[in-house]
Structure formats: structure tokens, C-alpha cells
């Protein structure tokens, strides 16, 4: 290798590697990096494995966190597919003739997302649900005049702050619509108060931040004709009516649950779908079906004139690298489970959550859930003595409770959001109930 280098340098008429850097002026030159010397592969593996062993995993302790990310079981076949180096070590498919594999897979992902939501078209992913919401607000404004984008006040804080950052530059004002204190659903009366000429779009989540199914999508659709953005949990889509059937214009969601690990919060996968009439206003990468020179079916990236490398500052968004491999996992997950399997997962999550809420409600001092009515796989839990005490007590017993609502909604200081998936065993649920019973 070293003689190789010397020979390459000689070919170019150079003497040393340093000659290759003679164009960097001395004033900004440095000689090497003040970082420790490199380690062997064995040392690196040991060091990082050891460092990360300070983490407690959801396998180490039954954990009831969700709030956007869910620890669903991922079949080994899904990982086997995404572990194909031909997928994970490939680049963005700019050259379709040598990228048909990833292109067709992503086109199938788009198609399956459309099946799930009833929408006509989907892009191949946003970074996560919160950036998808930001892009949806910007798209709503491209569809409809008006500066105000309405969102539920009961919204996870990070979705709200990301939305603020994504909309600020285009002059969109985000306003919040109250939730109904009795049902936990969007407050229709408050929504009507907010509707005006200047509204460019409305965002509703189903299930919402309380895990509650939003049962008034038809009424919401009737109340206004501004672009309606519906946030979904893709697993719940197997048991709830499709947003398209309620007249949604844009559907977004966190796609992580479809075949991807929780990954300490990343990488995730933002679902983004819309109706056909809005397709040219949709941000992000899109795969289309076409023909090759011999008339055979072929796939390629399409509608690229909307995006950054062509439209530059007038692009629909700046997204370039997205979450393609997560979309591959989602396509594989949906294909492996099929419609029947997806429905089984959804039903099991919903049933387990319902049974767990009932068991917690039966414990003196606990309230669950705050709102009556249908929930998907999450529900609120309150302890009269303040939830923080419960959180500490559960940790001491080797369990992890739900997400505390305090950072998001001040009035729910004492509440936590508990999530259940098909991965929770009866033993996990029993342990939780027993631990809660022992709290005094």
C-alpha cells in the first residue's frame, strides 16, 4: 500500500502526501487531530458494548412508555431483508437502471401506506412524525390561502416546537384548539371559534395525545373546508376507519411502529400521504412507475422538479436524505404480517391496554383513564399522591411507568401516559399491577 502511494504520487510528479495539501495556506494548517490513537476492532466493540451496557433496555425492565414510539415485535424476516447490504449500503437511487431493487421496494411502501390510509399517494418518508407535521402545515398553505394553522393544544411538546421551527420562515401562525375536558377529544365549539378566512389548515390526531380515538372526524370535516391533516398511528389503522374516508387531505404519522426498533428515538420514519389532486404540492422523495427503452416496467424517482436540486430556494422542502431504509423495513413488515397479521397486532394491543387500564382503575388511589371512551393502546394514569412518587417506586421495583404529562400539559401534572404493545406479556402486566398495589 505504501509503495502504491509513493508510485501514485510519482506518477503525478509529487514527492510526498504533504504536497497534496500545499493549497491550504499555513495560517489555517494544522498537523493532525488531538484525538486518541485508533483502537483495534476488538477494542472498539468492547468499549462501546461496555459503555452502552449502562442502558437499561425494555427487555431488562417492563416499560410502559409510548407517546409516539412503540416497542412492537419485529419479525426476524424484516431484519433479514433490511440487513441485505444491497439495500443498506446503497445511495439515493439517482441512477434507476442500477437501483430497481430499492426503487420498487419504496414504490411498494408508498402503495401500502396508501392502502393503510386510503390516500392516493405517499412519499418515501420524512424524518419523523414531527417534521412530517411541519411539512404538512407548509403544504396546507400551498393548497389554501391563509396564515393560521390550527393544531390541538393536547399535542406532544416536541411536535409543537418542531412545527414552530418549520413554519416560522413561511409566516404561518400556529394556533391551538382546546380539548374537551370530558371526552379528551378535540373541542368542537372551540374549533368553530378559531375558524376564519385566514386559516390555511387544521391538524387532528387519531388516536390523540391521550391515546383516545378521535370519534368526531366526520363532524370536524363538516365544520370546515380547509385542508385537513390527520395524524395516525399506522398500527391503529388496521382497526379504525381510514382518514381518506373522512375527507382528509394529508395524512402524517410516526412510521417507526411498522417494523422498526425504538432506537433511543432515532432513526424514525415520518409517514406522509395525500390525495391525488395535491400530489404536485407534496414535499419529499417520490417513486413512480414508468417504462424502460424496451417498454418493460421500470421504476424511478419522479416529480423531482419540486425539490431542492432543481428548484433550489423555491423547493417544496429541503429534504434530501430521508429515512429510506426505515421505509424498506416498513414495507417488509406490512408484507410479512399482511392485512390479517396487522389487524391481529392492533387488536391485541387495544385489548391488553383496555384490560390493564381496568386493572389499574381497580387499585385504590389510582384513576385510569382520565377520559372515558375508546382508546387504542395508550391511556392516562393518575395517582392521588402525585405521579412522580409512582414513577420512583416503579423504578425501584425494576419497572418503568408511562410518560409524565407535565412537560406537555401543565394541568395534567399528576398524569402519565401508559402504552402497551403485543410485546408486553401477562407476566409484565401482572408485575405492574402488583407494584402499583404495593405503593402507599
Amino acid at each position: 500500500m505504501a509503495s502504491d502511494e509513493a508510485d501514485m504520487l510519482r506518477t503525478m510528479g509529487l514527492r510526498s502526501v504533504e504536497d497534496l495539501f500545499s493549497d491550504i495556506p499555513p495560517a489555517v494548517r494544522m498537523s493532525g487531530l488531538p484525538l486518541p490513537p485508533g483502537l483495534s476492532e476488538q477494542e472498539v466493540v468492547a468499549r462501546i458494548t461496555e459503555m452502552l451496557s449502562a442502558n437499561r433496555t425494555m427487555a431488562d425492565m417492563p416499560t410502559f412508555l409510548g407517546a409516539g414510539l412503540y416497542d412492537h415485535f419485529v419479525p426476524a424476516s424484516v431484519r433479514a431483508i433490511t440487513s441485505r447490504a444491497e439495500f443498506y449500503t446503497s445511495y439515493t437511487p439517482y441512477q434507476p437502471e442500477v437501483s430497481q431493487g430499492i426503487l420498487q421496494t419504496l414504490w411498494e411502501y408508498q402503495s401500502m401506506i396508501c392502502d393503510l390510509t386510503g390516500m392516493d399517494a405517499a412519499n418515501t418518508s420524512m424524518y419523523d412524525a414531527s417534521t412530517a407535521l411541519g411539512e404538512a402545515a407548509r403544504m396546507a398553505r400551498r393548497i389554501h390561502n391563509g396564515k393560521i394553522f390550527l393544531v390541538p393544544r393536547a399535542l406532544r411538546w416536541h411536535r409543537r416546537t418542531v412545527l414552530g421551527n418549520y413554519t416560522w420562515g413561511s409566516g404561518i401562525l400556529v394556533k391551538e384548539v382546546e380539548y374537551d375536558r370530558a371526552t379528551g377529544m378535540l373541542d368542537l365549539a372551540d374549533l368553530k371559534q378559531h375558524l376564519s378566512e385566514d386559516v390555511c389548515g387544521l391538524y387532528v390526531e387519531n388516536p390523540n395525545f391521550f391515546g383516545r380515538l378521535e370519534e368526531q372526524l366526520a363532524e370536524i370535516r363538516t365544520a370546515t373546508d380547509v385542508p385537513l391533516v390527520v395524524g395516525i398511528n399506522p398500527i391503529a389503522q388496521a382497526v379504525v376507519k381510514k382518514p381518506a374516508d373522512f375527507g382528509a387531505d394529508i395524512v402524517i404519522g410516526e412510521g417507526q411502529a411498522l417494523g422498526n426498533a425504538v432506537n433511543f428515538g432515532g432513526p424514525l420514519l415520518g409517514i406522509f400521504a395525500c390525495r391525488q389532486e395535491h400530489v404536485r404540492k407534496m414535499p419529499g422523495r417520490v417513486i413512480g412507475l414508468t417504462k424502460d427503452a424496451e417498454g418493460h416496467r421500470a421504476f424511478c424517482m419522479t416529480l423531482q422538479t419540486r425539490e431542492q436540486h432543481i428548484r433550489r430556494e423555491k423547493a417544496m422542502s429541503n429534504i434530501c436524505t430521508n429515512e429510506s431504509l426505515m421505509a424498506v423495513a416498513s414495507a417488509a413488515y406490512m408484507a410479512v404480517l399482511g392485512a390479517n397479521g396487522l389487524r391481529r397486532v392492533a387488536v391485541e394491543c387495544m385489548r391488553k391496554a383496555k384490560d390493564l387500564a381496568a386493572a389499574i382503575r381497580a387499585i385504590p388511589g389510582f384513576e385510569a383513564p382520565l377520559f372515558e371512551g375508546a382508546h387504542f393502546n395508550e391511556f392516562t394514569v393518575r395517582y392521588q399522591g402525585g405521579y412522580e412518587a409512582v414513577h420512583r417506586a416503579l423504578l425501584a421495583r425494576g419497572l418503568h411507568g408511562g410518560m409524565q404529562h407535565a412537560r406537555h400539559l401543565r394541568e395534567l401534572r399528576d398524569f402519565a401516559l401508559f402504552a402497551v404493545t403485543e410485546r408486553h406479556t401477562k407476566h409484565d402486566l401482572d408485575r405492574l399491577v402488583e407494584a402499583l398495589r404495593s405503593i402507599r
Partner: protein
């Protein structure tokens, strides 16, 4: 949604993967995209349960390993780039740009100023324009002279409205902007900030740094310089580094260490908030940190040396067969022009498609726009001389081939030349479109 036997699904996607070019199957000289070897030890570490099955909302006491890794990675990246503080939150390079601009804006507003202008050279990546547009800024493009920023054009463009100048160094022609200190002075004198697009950072590690060159903000592309695989278009990771005056504005939460425990600090009154949910694409951060530990300071410097050697060597080999505008050294990439071939009726597209017949992924084509019929070649440090020679020989041979052969290329890929115009004219984006209009 289909209900299929699992092995049918596995076969389907395995077959598709075989129709996909990737780093593990071939040479990918894709300029400014930096496709190099994706080490397997990093894959193994990123799939540990202590990564995959950890929820980001877990109590701090249960995620000390993850927080420590983030803290150490932040420090390593700051050292490499010569910056004072780093956020790992952005999900991709373009999101890093967007974050960097929001930081510049927040810093500016905090000083009581309202600057609206972003200056970008004509050699810039398309995402620079799109990110600035998305953040709501006015964009001024300036021309370059001899493949470098024209100082007099820059002086004319800057003023009291200038928020930032966005540039990569080496630029997208692979040329080092050796008057960078003058560039920085011109921008700083009017109170503007200098932004470093980190896509080309792999050319200069250990030789110089954005900090030494007086940059104020830099984004990193972990999926380029730090080898994390690209996943067919994502996920990426685009951490942002800043000089001390911008630190108070970094996204929350910031990972801090109090000499016994790591914490997630949300109490940052000047913070811009979040740009995506949670803390970044953590599984990619693990891969990048593993790579940095494996290389060490010396290894990273060697990587830059070899990347620069390889680029200059390939340039030297193909010069003559293709024109290479602008004289002098290149850093990690160079741009050749197919203008002479165009006179024979051979477009750069034809050359690119023909390369596929020999098992190579084509270079980046038609970028940057200021070079006619551009082919942008980046071999990276991981390729051997034998690979580079074989590639150069092939490229030279193609320039001598019968134009008819090139026009009909590629000849031995899964599909022949794909009709991308048809795909955009009449989009077929999901199987719902097909059902409505079965023409394929």
C-alpha cells in the same frame, strides 16, 4: 394489502435487493455524496439491544450509556471541526443546514438585529438554497472566478442585511478556497456569520478545520465522512457545531455531565427548541462514534490524505480523455467536463449509463451547474489503486467508443434506459393509480 406466506415475501425482497447497486457490491465514485466502505463492526454495535430497545423517554438513570456516548461523540466532533459545542439532533445534512440557519437567526435576533439575507456561491449544494428558502430568508447567489469565490463579488453582496454566507471548503469543484481567511473577514466585518457545509469535511481532517478557517457554524454528514451507511437514501445524521457565542441557542435537550451523571438539559431559555423529535438518529451516532474510535486522530487524518491522493490520481489519469476545467490540486473530488464528447453527440448521461455496463456506479452528473456536461468524481479513501486504475481505464475507453453504443446504454442491467420524463408527465405513484388506469 397482501396476505402472503413469509418465504414468498423474503424471496421477493431478496430478489429485489439483487437488482440494486451498493457499496458492498461495487465502486461508487459519487462526488459530494461520499460513498465509502461501511464497516461491519459498526452495524453490529448499532443493532445491540442496548441501542434498539431503549426508549428515549426513559428516566435519565436508565440511559446513562446512551447519554455518555452522545457526550463523547459531541466532543470528538467539536475537536475535528474546531468548534466549541455540537448538537446531534438534526436527522440529515439538509436538516443540519436548516438548524444552523435557525441558530444564526436566533443569535441575530438576540442581538436585536433582523438580518434576512443569505449569500451562497454558485458552486453550492442545492440544499443550501432550499434550507435558506425554507427558513424564510432572501438568497443572493454570487458567481465564482477560477472555480473559487470572487472576493469582489462577495464584497459587493455583503452588508448590514447579511445574516450568513454558506460555503463548503473544499468547494464542490474539489478546489480549496485558499483565500478563506479573506472570505471570513469580509463576512465578519459586516457582522455576518460564516456557515460551513460539512459535506466535504472528509478532505481536510487533521489538515485544517472549519474552526481554524474562522467559520462560526458547521454541519457534519455522519453518513458521508463518518461512514454510516446511506440506506438507499437515508437515514442520515447531520450534527451541527458552533462557536461559543451561538451555544445558548442550540436545540434542547443538551446533554450535560456533572462529573457523576449525564443529564438532558431542557432549561435553556435562548434555545431554538427542537428540529425533530428526541435526540437525533442515535443508531447512526453509535456507528459514527465506533468509526471515530477505530480510526483515532491519526486514522482520520490518514483517511483525508488517502481520499485526496485518490482523487488527484484519478483526475491525473482521466485528464485528456475528458477535460478538467481549472488547474491545480483537488481535494477529495474533481469535476470533469464531457463538453468535447457533446460535440460528437455523446451526452454525459450516455457516459454515465455506459459505465454501468462495466459494473460501476456513475459519478454525480450535471452538477455543479457551472461546468458544462459535468461528471463529478469522488473515489474516497477506501478504494485501492487497482480499482482506481480499472475505473480510469474504463472511463477512457468509453470516450473512444461508438456513440451509438453509448446512446443505447446500459445493456446489461435489470432494465434498459428508464424513461424518467414519462414518469413525471403521467405519475403512477401507487397501485391505486394502477387500478384506476392499468397501463403498465
Amino acid at each position: 394489502m397482501p396476505n402472503l406466506p413469509e418465504h414468498e415475501v423474503v424471496r421477493h425482497y431478496t430478489r429485489l435487493s439483487q437488482m440494486n447497486f451498493s457499496i458492498d457490491t461495487g465502486f461508487y465514485p459519487l462526488g459530494s455524496c461520499t460513498m465509502k466502505f461501511n464497516p461491519k463492526y459498526a452495524e453490529e454495535l448499532a443493532s445491540l439491544p442496548t441501542v434498539a430497545r431503549v426508549h428515549p423517554d426513559q428516566d435519565e438513570s436508565t440511559i446513562q450509556g446512551a447519554l455518555r456516548l452522545m457526550h463523547e461523540l459531541q466532543q470528538s466532533l467539536a475537536t475535528i471541526a474546531g468548534m466549541d459545542a455540537v448538537t446531534l439532533q438534526p436527522a440529515a445534512g439538509a436538516q443540519g443546514e436548516f438548524t444552523g440557519l435557525l441558530l444564526a437567526q436566533a443569535y441575530n435576533h438576540d442581538k436585536g438585529e433582523h438580518r434576512q439575507q443569505i449569500i451562497v456561491p454558485d458552486t453550492a449544494h442545492g440544499t443550501n438554497f432550499a434550507s435558506a428558502g425554507m427558513a424564510g430568508f432572501d438568497i443572493v447567489e454570487i458567481a465564482s472566478v477560477d472555480g473559487r469565490v470572487d472576493l469582489s463579488a462577495l464584497k459587493r453582496a455583503v452588508g448590514d442585511k447579511t445574516l450568513a454566507f454558506m460555503i463548503t471548503n473544499p468547494n464542490t469543484l474539489g478546489i480549496f478556497e485558499d483565500h478563506i481567511i479573506d472570505v471570513a473577514d469580509i463576512v465578519h466585518q459586516v457582522g455576518g456569520l460564516l456557515y460551513y457545509d460539512g459535506a466535504n469535511l472528509n478532505a481536510i481532517m487533521g489538515k485544517t478545520s472549519p474552526g481554524l478557517m474562522n467559520f462560526d457554524i458547521v454541519h457534519f454528514n455522519l453518513h458521508k465522512t463518518f461512514t454510516t451507511p446511506h440506506g438507499g437514501g437515508g437515514p442520515g445524521a447531520g450534527p451541527v457545531g458552533v462557536k461559543a457565542p451561538l451555544e445558548p441557542f442550540l436545540p434542547v435537550p443538551v446533554v450535560t455531565f456533572d462529573s457523576s451523571m449525564y443529564h438532558l438539559d431542557y432549561h435553556r431559555p435562548k434555545s431554538i427548541g427542537m428540529v425533530r423529535a428526541w435526540y437525533g438518529n442515535f443508531a447512526l451516532l453509535v456507528r459514527a462514534y465506533a468509526y471515530i474510535l477505530r480510526q483515532g486522530g491519526d486514522g482520520l487524518t490518514r483517511a483525508s490524505e488517502r481520499a485526496v491522493l485518490n482523487a488527484n490520481y484519478v483526475k491525473h489519469r482521466v485528464q485528456g480523455a475528458l477535460e478538467v476545467p481549472f488547474s491545480g490540486l483537488r481535494k477529495h473530488e474533481f469535476v470533469a467536463s464531457g463538453a468535447k464528447l457533446a460535440a460528437k453527440g455523446v451526452k454525459t448521461t450516455d457516459v454515465a449509463k455506459r459505465l454501468m455496463d462495466f459494473g460501476y456506479h456513475p459519478p454525480t452528473v450535471y452538477f455543479p451547474h457551472l461546468v458544462e456536461e459535468a461528471l463529478m468524481i469522488e473515489p474516497t479513501e477506501t478504494e485501492t489503486r487497482a480499482t482506481l486504475d480499472a475505473f480510469a481505464d474504463t472511463l477512457i475507453q468509453i470516450t473512444k467508443e461508438d456513440p451509438a453504443l453509448l446512446h443505447s446504454a446500459p445493456h446489461n442491467t435489470a432494465v434498459s434506459r428508464v424513461d424518467e420524463v414519462q414518469a413525471a408527465r403521467d405519475p403512477v405513484l401507487s397501485w391505486r393509480y394502477l387500478k384506476a388506469q392499468p397501463k403498465f
